[in-house]
Amino acid sequence: MSHHIVEARDVHYTYPGGHEALRGVSFRITHGEAVAVVGPNGAGKSTLLQHLNGTLLPARGEVRIGDDPVTRDTAPRIRRAVGMVFQDPDDQLFMPTVLEDVAFGPLNHGLAPEAAAERARAALERVGMSHAADQPPYRLSAGEKRAVSIAGVLALSPDVLVMDEPSSNLDPRGRRRLMELLKSFEHTKIIATHDLELVVEVCSRVILLDGGLVKAEGPVVQVLNDEPLMLAHGLERPHSLRHRHPH
């Protein structure tokens, strides 16, 4: 059973207050791709991400992970395949110690405590945070918190990693480490971000969202280099592309 393909078909979502956040979003992301979701504030990026693991369910249209449509019934299974890293690590780190926090997911998925601790240690090792295993999460720096929250998701061995603004609040060194880490993952990655330099380094494809609609989609360089398009949607052409000379 492969869960590596993520597909949205004409997804609509309206918040209870009446705000139409998504107005017919469609895309298809295949195995191992790294896709950035960009767009101005309020474009619907976070709303879209919340549909990928069934936190929100579409009012119309559907989201499919592998062969399964995301519904209330399939959501628990989908969440094993789709690891979600939240925008604010403080929302995600709620256990008394780092190790317990990372082990939270594996325990919930029925692993025995020893096996769950083993998994948690491996995940912490993977993100370079083994030394913090016994610390309480709120003592960590923003970069460390981010790394631990990613470990918490990795410990579930997901097929797809979904991240909301992974580089926000990080200092340059923390951001650099994060990018190296993300590049080292073989998972299918879906990253919502305003950090366009990160997109250039980590992703291969871009989905540009604005007003709840996909405005553009394509290879990173092609979309982000389109200055009029970028400016029209509250973005800008990344510096690194400006100075990159095609051979």
Binding site: M84, F86, F94, E100, G105, L107, G152
Partner: protein, 268 residues
């Protein structure tokens, strides 16, 4: 107050993560013994003061075994003390029946019940705090669930603990924002406080929602699972039976009076 609270919950988690003989005891043993302790202390007649004395042993033992700083507990007691004070405040005025004390002194019975209320307050609150500080809310809730507490209650208790931290965190940020925009230390009007409280509620609810979402995203299904495998050992059995026997003894015999008679040689 709000600030102190955020610190309290975090500090409680830190203390609960310590390693000590008290921490290694099974959460169920500590929960059962503490519950028996509360029942025993509350079951004394309302003028009893002296017979309560032996019960000090339990929180003191748990705290020293667990390496919990006594100052921390005392501070928490002080914060909560006004509640107990107000509950007992009118007893000396309302209950004026004279009671003879050893040494030929007479006091109003109300003073005794007032002292009794304060003693019980100090005993029960410190025992409960010691229990949580030596166990941790997660392990305690998991233990209570295994003891047969309905899962819904155990999860509620766990969330109460988690969200207390969330609310205090939000409150701290808002207080900071308020302080920065309040001129020359003047207290803001009641209207401002009303609006602040409303915002605090909304923001806490939003945040609670996000945390719950994060828990669901990692497979939370209502069952509390923890890393430390709790195994009931001989030590837990000894701890439980030992304390239960002591509480029973101290309940049925007035141990301090007994000790006093022993010393003065009245018992022969």
């Amino acid at each position: 107050m709000a600030m102190a609270h955020g610190g309290t919950v975090q500090r409680m988690d830190e203390l609960a993560a310590l390693e000590s003989p008290a921490h290694r005891l099974d959460a169920r043993a500590k929960a059962v013994v503490t519950f028996a302790f509360l029942v025993a202390v509350m079951s004394f007649p309302r003028h009893e003061v002296v017979a309560l004395a032996p019960y000090v042993l339990y929180p003191v033992a748990l705290l020293s075994l667990g390496g919990i700083p006594a100052r921390w507990i005392l501070k928490k007691l002080l914060v909560a003390a006004p509640f107990a004070l107000f509950i007992g405040l009118f007893n000396p005025l309302l209950d004026r029946q004279p009671v003879a004390l050893p040494g030929g002194l007479f006091v109003a019975a109300g003073w005794l019940s007032f002292a009794s209320i304060l003693a019980r307050f100090a005993l029960t609150v410190s025992a409960a705090l010691a229990l949580v500080a030596c166990t941790g809310m997660d392990r305690l809730c998991a233990g209570l669930e295994r003891l047969g507490l309905p899962r819904a209650f155990a999860v509620q208790l766990l969330f109460l603990h988690r969200y207390l931290f969330v609310i205090s965190d939000e409150a701290r940020r808002m207080r900071y924002g308020l302080a920065l925009r309040t001129a020359d230390g003047r207290a803001p009007s009641l209207r401002v406080y009303g609006s602040l409280l409303g915002h605090l509620l909304l923001r806490s609810m939003d945040r609670a929602q996000r945390i719950y979402g994060a828990m669901l995203a990692r497979g939370f299904d209502g069952e509390i699972r923890i890393l430390g495998t709790a195994r009931w050992t001989a030590r837990d059995a000894l701890f439980t039976t030992g304390w239960l026997a002591f509480f029973a003894a101290a309940r049925f015999w007035n141990l301090p009076e007994f000790a006093g008679r022993l010393l003065t040689g009245e018992l022969r």
